[in-house]
Symmetry: C2
Subunit: 470 residues, 2 copies
């Protein structure tokens, strides 16, 4: 099925706008798109009339132009009839916001089945029901949330889809915005009665603006099985990150009443995801970390999984070593000869107090050039595949130029490097120095290790057949 | 040993100020205290002379006033001699910033032993060596970091001590500042040759301004064993949070070269910590979460560990249920009768779409009063011991007043409640509405669950003898 009408409609009808309640989901959707000027938008309500002096049409068939997309926010019992009107009007895609379908039991399931039947017969791409729908600025945004209450991540190359609208808003869009990750398009799938993870992955795989993708799914139904199967091919060229909700007993019960999700066996699911080359994020922060490193390094698997840890703090090196071991990354100790060579590279003032064994602790008296020289030396050796820089802008001699210096080293060696900078607004210049020069910044050592772990996981599935040693 | 001279000196000598390098640790310490006006500060360098027209004394014995505290930043080989001069001058406490002691091998160990001997004989409280020292504003701050490059958490009731200076700065002070947690005093212990975790815990336990404490330790040496033993008593009235670094093979090696830490058996250590009622934080974010909930609820153990999850999003309820199960918290399902009673309490407009089984999903169309009534009803029942509110300020009808409404409910029932609000600056009014009314806010569902987990862990050790069921 061609999903392009879902993401690039020219004319959108919003069915169910209230003539009295400005907070009604349909009104919020109508207004946000009217003021955004991305598509032409029409209000529909059987009562007709006017909304702020703009016409309200009694039916989608009364709209005086060919409508591509219909967004439906009327009671579940009326949605089937509206769908038939959409079919008659030649609509290509429908987003059904309304709840009250399969997630509410047998009666709702029947309404949902009828809705799907109408859409299938008439070749309408159906998103939902029971969803936020489609987020594809600057063209269209069907999320019924006032725009000033949410954030819009910058344009980027990660497509996202979620069985939960709020997960998409918070754990993806808000966190991506804060982490500076850009997205191409987003979809809240809800009950995913027709367009599901599998259909969306295939669409995302074909999009030129998309280099990787991220999904939130609940449970293991037939659609998810198809999705996992299809991923075997897709993940060879576009990484796929998945977070699975509803794994616990209470979580499964909640997922059932949320989006009628079917529970799956947890271990089986984890194994299946891994075998298809999917990066399973196990925590909210892994979702952000995995997607951020992919947005910087796209498809860059590690094969040896050996990393250098370079810090200005012994304690941070200890923490990073602990976390790296848990993440199955290797922090190889350095020979005395290598340590002697490193010692020659650094400022005489820190030669007696620096620890050079990996993790490298250049101490709080180190300067930008010490980091630059040590990183250049280490990335120049085959046994080091990536590096984690623990860069603390409060050490007296570090400057905001450090990212530019290290960025040049990274470009020279073309190996992935991640920089930790504590989370304070006043370190913004240091952060930008890194990110403008191609080095992603994290605000905890944990998330830095998570990023390199994502590249290790990519390596487990890479075509090369190489595997990271355990 | 009386540690009060460590935290409230009137006159401080900084030994080792450079006459040429303004970035020298001693110069930074001298300057930050000179400009902070908390204590009187004197510069010492054997060369004598002037520093910005202020006198530099050749020896601490030349300082024309009785000095309480000496901060030492000279090469390790000279520290013993300086210590003897301090003893002669009647100094009560010494902070030795310098490295080059036990962490550097046998020669350094000998220097450290001699230093300790001098301090013991002369009843001087020794902090360090190889440390940042003492952070006790507004009186004294010996961290050699320019103040404009760091942050100062607000004054509060948590005391902190760390074997790593940078862990104390980033993972504690910076993260506490960002999370709004206040501290009483902080100590970077370094090699903790004399004043160690045990001594500091006893001191913190006696401080009126301190209600709980947090430690970062590396390895399990004799001092840590004493600390764990003493904690059995202290944790009965003041919670103690510990993060252990250096657990992995590489981490142990790094800890050895960092602070001469001795490796311990990981499982043995975890068991010992738990049996002494210590809350072991396993991640950086648990450090913050545990300390934040303690700063709101002090010593409030859970015994049943049953929580209500109340959200405006089905997906968030699913996530919270999964995380609660992992954290051994119970999200009990609600009977049909209870669900019917809850349905009567909420707005008619959401009765047909809300899921009321726990997790409660009031949907994106809910308003403040729905949350207020549902929380009031649930906290009024004995089988619910605490609640996690998943409050999304982008739902159209939520207002910034929601925290005040819920705060009144929490005060009425006196049960711990945590609120999740996504991490955006523009939600600041919502956040403050909660926190000003006694409800701590978290920015991820994970950290909200971590907070309630901390209270469950307190319950495992509570005097009541009650235990949370598994």
């Amino acid at each position: 099925m061609d999903l392009s009408p879902v993401f690039s409609p020219h004319r959108v009808a919003v069915v169910g706008v209230s003539l009295s309640n400005p907070f009604h989901p349909a009104n919020i959707i109508y207004n946000k798109n009217y003021y955004a000027d991305g598509c032409e938008v029409f209000a529909v309500n059987p009562k007709g009339g006017e909304l702020e002096r703009r016409p309200v049409y009694r039916s989608i068939r009364d709209v005086p132009a060919k409508v591509d997309m219909a967004v439906i926010a009327v009671k579940a019992m009326y949605v089937g009839e509206v769908a038939r009107e959409c079919a008659a009007a030649g609509v290509r895609s429908m987003v059904v916001i309304s709840g009250g379908f399969a997630e509410m039991g047998a009666e709702g399931q029947a309404l949902q089945d009828e809705l799907v039947r109408v859409c299938e017969v008439n070749d309408i791409a159906l998103i939902g029901p029971n969803c936020f729908g489609v987020f594809a600025p600057p063209v269209v945004d069907t999320f019924f949330l006032p725009p000033e209450r949410t954030v819009v991540p910058k344009k980027g190359d990660i497509a996202v889809a979620s069985q939960s609208g709020a997960f998409l808003v918070d754990q993806i869009m808000t966190n991506f915005h804060e982490a500076g990750i850009g997205i191409s398009v987003g979809v809240s799938m809800g009950n995913k009665a027709m367009v599901d993870e599998d259909a969306l992955m295939r669409h995302f795989a074909s999009r030129e603006d998309t280099k990787s993708m991220c999904f939130y799914i609940e449970g293991l139904d037939q659609g998810v099985r198809r999705f996992i199967e299809s991923a075997r091919d897709v993940t060879r060229y576009k990484p796929v990150v998945v977070y699975v909700g509803g794994k616990s007993e209470r979580g499964k019960a909640a997922a059932q009443s949320h989006t009628a999700a079917l529970a799956g066996n947890q271990e089986m699911m984890e194994g299946a995801l891994r075998q298809s080359g999917i990066l399973e994020a196990k925590t909210e922060s892994e979702v952000t970390s995995f997607c951020k490193i992919l947005s910087f390094y796209h498809h860059r698997p590690l094969s040896k999984c050996t990393i250098a840890v370079i810090s200005s703090s012994g304690g941070h090196g200890v923490l990073a070593s602990d976390l790296a071991e848990e993440a199955e990354l290797i922090v190889p100790g350095f020979s005395v000869e290598r340590q002697d060579e490193l010692r020659e590279l650094i400022d005489p003032g820190i030669r007696d107090i620096a620890a050079l064994g990996n993790p490298v602790d250049l101490t709080g008296s180190s300067a930008d050039k010490d980091f630059e020289r040590v990183l250049d030396y280490l990335l120049g050796h085959d046994d080091i595949e990536a590096a984690l820089m623990l860069t603390l802008p409060y050490t007296p001699m570090m400057t905001s130029f450090v990212g530019t210096r290290l960025g040049k080293v990274v470009k020279k060696h073309d190996k992935p490097v991640v920089a930790y900078v504590p989370d304070l607004a006043k370190y913004g210049m240091v952060l930008e120095g890194f990110e403008l020069n191609g080095i992603p910044v994290v605000h905890s050592i944990e998330t830095g290790v998570q990023m390199l772990k994502a590249l290790r996981m990519l390596g487990l599935y890479a075509d090369s057949g190489k595997r990271c040693p355990r």
